[in-house]
Assembly symmetry: C2
Homo-oligomer: 123 residues x 2
């Protein structure tokens, strides 16, 4: 894994949650596991924009942070299931709050984001 050169700030709750939730796909992974998509291949189908590789990496970090557990069934072809830990379950309402705010302000957000990303829209 990549070894950090800059020590992260862990001063307050916001720093701490940032450390475990940052990562392009982590929140989505937690959410999909929460709603019952437990197997890696399912998660992949649900998040087609992410490569298999990145999902594996981010799942491993979530596991290291004790938000999910990984259960391996000794069968062929291999079967793996992720589940939220009790700790992981406690963060679901927070993710729900994030998603709800995003949904409530969807149109406005799309507008301001596109203005910034696609500068030509700023006539």
């Amino acid at each position: 894994m990549y070894e950090r050169k800059i020590i992260p700030n862990l001063n307050c709750g916001l720093d701490l949650i940032g450390e475990v939730l940052y990562g392009k796909w982590k929140i989505r992974l937690l959410w999909f596991i929460h709603i019952g998509h437990k197997r890696p291949s399912e998660l992949q189908r649900k998040i087609p924009d992410a490569s298999r590789r990145v999902l594996n990496i981010q799942l491993k970090e979530l596991e290291e942070h004790e938000l999910v557990t990984r259960k391996i069934y000794p069968v062929v072809p291999p079967k793996v299931e992720y589940s939220l830990t009790e700790f992981g379950k406690t963060v679901i309402p927070v993710i729900a709050a994030l998603g709800q705010w995003g949904d409530e302000h969807e149109d406005r957000l799309r507008d301001v984001i596109l203005k910034q990303v696609v500068p030509s829209l700023n006539e």
Copy 2:
């Protein structure tokens, strides 16, 4: 500003909020502005780990995303004040939820993060 080469996903509320809140210091900036630290120099003193430069950049993005406004007083030495917009105020409860979860699980989070960041702790 940097011009993106990969188009961001804007499919759901989580994608959208991510676009405006990602950025190492943005959430803290919003929070400090919320609790009354409006001037750039104040914000800097509150967030000493960030350079002046990065704060300026992230403040500008928050402004472009219409979460804050920047008011310039025509005095010397210059005086500038940031404030939350009405839109920006709506995201404060979400940030509060993030911070609260982080605070509630502070010890455990510090533990799992340090295990991952400082591998030598994994005896």
